[in-house]
């Protein structure tokens, strides 16, 4: 029952992201989706992923979004879409129909259960089996940091020219 409520809340908030006019409300809805997702991860025993989701996605990304909204002063911009907003419920109903057929297909085509072959604890998988991937992740974080630095360095150069 709790899972139904949490997943339903996530879907409702994602529809809210399509409908809300104010980008601040959209950012807060996204943060709430991340928080609820963290709860779902905790429910299934994925505690470390849940902590990451809660601290990084619900915390850091929300702060970045709110800072961007205030930097661009665009929070009260009207919703510009190729379809009017009142079409959203109809589109969502179509999505639910597609989802139903996909789930029926998955339920009938996949075996009811598989022989569990656990790879071990998170620590073993992360630090031993996937140790080479750590380099990729460090590279990725470096790419993010240098990418942002590059974007704002252009701004500093422009200021000098001015």
């Amino acid at each position: 029952m709790l899972l139904w409520v949490l997943l339903g809340l996530m879907v409702l908030l994602s529809i809210g992201c399509c409908i809300f006019k104010d980008l601040l409300y959209v950012a807060i809805s996204l943060a709430t989706i991340s928080g609820v997702l963290a709860l779902v991860l905790f429910l299934f025993g994925a505690n470390i992923a849940g902590v990451f989701e809660l601290s990084v996605c619900a915390g850091l990304i929300t702060v970045l979004f709110i800072a961007t909204v205030s930097l661009t002063k665009d929070s009260d911009q009207k919703v510009e879409t190729r379809l009017p907003v009142y079409f959203v419920p109809l589109i969502i109903l179509i999505f639910i129909g597609i989802d139903y057929f996909v789930i029926q297909w998955v339920a009938h085509s996949m075996p009811a259960s598989v022989v569990p072959q656990p790879s071990g604890t998170f620590q073993r998988v992360f630090w031993e089996l996937r140790s080479a991937d750590m380099l990729g992740q460090i590279g990725l974080i470096g790419a993010g940091v240098f990418g942002i630095l590059a974007l704002f360095r252009v701004k500093a150069k422009e200021k000098k020219h001015e």
């Binding site: 589109i91 998170f122 089996l129 974007l151």
Partner: protein, 102 residues
Amino acid sequence: MNKEILLLLSCGILLVMTGVYMLVLYRNLLRLIIGVEIVAKGVTLIFLSAGVYRQDIGFIQSLLVTFIIVETVLAAIMLALAVRAQKIHGSLDIRNLSKLRG
């Protein structure tokens, strides 16, 4: 299959479709970034359903941590690009970014 797995998968697919809807139909750059984030949440749920199905939460957790890092870096870069685009064009409308065409 277990009902919980199908429920997770179903909700994940719905979130992915909602995010793609935002990506296809909206013109504000920040809404597009939020669309990408919603797709990422859906993919996280689909990953989780795969982990529960295979009864291998340890492996899926390590993949999810990597995925969250990718998602965060992507969001940070895209938001920085949005700030720059707004400074240059005075708006976040993606139709003003046609200068990016080669």
